[in-house]
Amino acid sequence: MTMLSEKNPLNRTTSVAIKIDKVNKWYGTHHVLKDISLDILEGEIMVVCGPSGSGKSTLIRSLNHLEDYQDGVVSVFGQPLSRDRKSHDVIHNAMGMVFQNFNLFPHLTVLQNCTLGLTWLRKMSERDADKMAMQLLDRVGIAALASRYPGQLSGGQQQRVAISRSLAMEPKIMLFDEPTSALDPEMVKEVLDVMVDLSKTGMTMVCVTHEMEFARQVADRVVFMADGEIVEVGPPEQVLVNPEWDRTSEFLRHVL
């Protein structure tokens, strides 16, 4: 527990990576995000949890504009985002995302999946891109499978490829949208291990996950959401061990 208190963001003097200010979203008349305000600090590992339908996936997908929101402002490194081309570039230069269903490109090899952005957007030479991608694949322990196609890999391997594909674009912030929910139990650990490794590099991470053990181990702060609202925010030992609200403790009884 001493280790965790050392990681308390309140003791750090870091700048805000993502500032979420009074974001509201409706699906038709259904109010899915209600006045969400949250500051995510640079280098912070933020775990978002909550029951299904609580809006946690919608929230994380609003951060990189995969979902529209009708009201409120999200700023990345002090720059408020809108729907224009410039914001698009800011978002995708700063943030990478890992999805529940991996969403690898099935027609490309593992290596090509990782180098696609490098060669076409960064205009990197093929050799440099391959080298960089191989380093990343090596980091997630998949370098040996670089010439395979995603369809030939297990779920855990695919998710690790997806992580290195995102990392190839050198994002400052990584968004994880339930990265282990579609995996067989035996494969959850290999993906979580990669995420734990990543958390030690100072990467800002926002993870929607049900892996409470992961949250306890690496999160700086845990956000608990229910019915489109943030119920509790705080260090894991506070939210997960001594929750303030009955809604939180009810949820924790179900998942722990």
Partner: protein, 452 residues
């Protein structure tokens, strides 16, 4: 994760997997299988025998007509009938064979068609080799450059005079490309450096970036210069487009339709899915209008209506009008095929591409279209096959394609009334073409399959 501390005590029993066994063999053999499948009950035995008898009579009659009683050498239909009344008269088809293949292309110039087709095939041959880099580029070069070479060979004239200087220049570039392609291929097969690499040191003296592209262009221009020196003395007998015909013309129309169908289809399909209302509606109207009208009508309209819409001094020959019509028709059908493929691509693919930072064009070209087109190979090939067959309709508006040439045989004074044999011959020819196309598509599907 520390919650489940699995015990690892030596007292636990050790699990060893059972060794895998081979599947049981089918030891019946061919005859055994036939007996087992076709004669396993009285009813089935009777059915099998009936089918066998019917098949025997059918095959016997067909063979009798087409082979055993057929006449292969005769001067006229009357002579055919005299030799064998109830057999096929292939002699007529054989004597008109050239006409069926080349239409009314002058006899002495038919080698040009052969050379043209041969060059076209040669251009595509390197695609078979896996060792050639940038194979998509070769395909693109074929689409973009080959028509100039073909056009010159088929139309003829003094080089760069009748067809204009631009066409002549492009022909030189095209031929130079082919020469360079083969030089590089042969050199790399023999284990030498490609031509382009010889110029790398020279080019790197004055260019810093993209030296590979630069040396490629330098070599291309140099060879083009050489080719143009050679070609500038060439003069071929001019052949009017009206004299093109037969299978040759069918190939030109179908080939053009097939190569243009995908680009036109992709543009229309993406347009129809566009969120911009003007683009959406224009694409939708084009697709729906062209699809709801029979091809014959589209062809007639192209020949009669198109000249009215165009400015008076713009005059196209009939073939160009037909090509435009067929291209539009093929594109509209292809657009719906491709749209089907696009809809089958999961939303996650778009999201993953967007989060990588890829824009619309990159997402489409690099991520979505390759998958959509691959998924749609069977449908696309079906469209191509029907296109090939549909092109025979151009005989109705008076282009001498293989169909019209076949009907002409019956009007020849020596072969009056010879209808069946040319049609049978065309059927066999089209079957071979279409069947090989479908086999190719199966092969392509197998090659592109990367799931397992």
């Amino acid at each position: 994760m520390d919650d489940f501390n699995v015990k690892n005590e030596p007292a636990l029993k050790q699990f060893i997997a059972t060794p895998p066994r081979l599947p049981p063999k089918n030891e019946r053999g061919v005859i055994g299988t036939i007996l087992h499948r076709c004669f396993n009950s009285i009813g089935n035995s009777v059915l099998t025998l009936c089918v066998a008898v019917v098949l025997f009579y059918l095959v016997k009659h067909i063979l009798d007509w087409a082979v055993f009683n057929a006449v292969f050498v005769a001067e006229s239909r009357r002579q055919c009938m005299a030799l064998s009344a109830d057999g096929a008269c292939w002699a007529g088809v054989i004597s008109w064979f050239n006409g069926l293949i080349y239409g009314r292309f002058p006899m002495d110039e038919q080698w040009r068609v052969n050379v043209g087709v041969l060059l076209g095939l040669m251009w595509l041959l390197p695609l078979m080799s896996k060792r050639i880099p940038l194979r998509n580029f070769i395909l693109l070069s074929w689409i973009g450059l080959y028509p100039f070479v073909g056009g010159y060979l088929f139309l003829g004239g003094r080089f760069g005079v009748e067809l204009g200087l631009v066409h002549g220049t492009m022909t030189c570039f095209a031929l130079a490309f082919l020469v360079m392609l083969y030089m590089n291929w042969v050199l790399s097969a023999l284990g030498y450096k490609g031509v382009n690499e010889w110029f790398l040191p020279l080019v790197s003296r004055w260019a810093e970036r993209r030296i590979h592209l630069m040396s490629f262009i330098v070599v291309w221009v140099l060879i083009t210069f050489g080719v143009s020196l050679g070609l500038s003395h060439v003069s071929l007998e001019p052949v009017a487009i009206e004299r093109w015909g037969g299978l040759f013309l069918t190939f030109i129309i179908a080939g053009f339709a097939i190569t243009m169908a995908i680009p036109v289809g992709v543009v229309l399909a993406l347009g129809r899915r566009s969120k911009l209302p003007v683009i959406h509606w224009i694409s939708m109207i084009v697709i729906e209008l062209v699809r709801s009208v029979p091809l014959i009508t589209v062809l007639f309209m192209a020949v009669t209506l198109l000249p009215i819409f165009l400015p008076a001094d713009m005059e196209f020959n009939k073939l160009t009008q037909v090509l435009v019509a067929v291209c539009l028709f093929a594109g509209a059908y292809m657009a719906e095929n491709i749209r089907g493929g696009l809809q089958a691509i999961p939303k996650g693919q778009y999201e993953a591409a967007t989060t990588l930072g890829l824009g619309y064009l990159h997402t489409m070209v690099l991520v979505v279209l390759p998958q959509a087109l691959k998924m749609m190979i069977p449908n696309i090939m079906t469209s191509f096959i029907s296109l090939l067959k549909d092109t025979t309709l151009v005989s109705i508006i008076g282009l001498f394609d293989i169909m019209l040439m076949a009907r002409n045989i019956a009007n020849d004074k020596d072969w009056v009334g010879l209808h069946t044999e040319p049609l049978v011959m065309i059927s066999v020819l089209f079957f071979i073409l279409c069947y090989s196309m479908s086999q190719y598509s199966l092969n392509l599907e197998k090659r592109l399959k990367v799931d397992h």
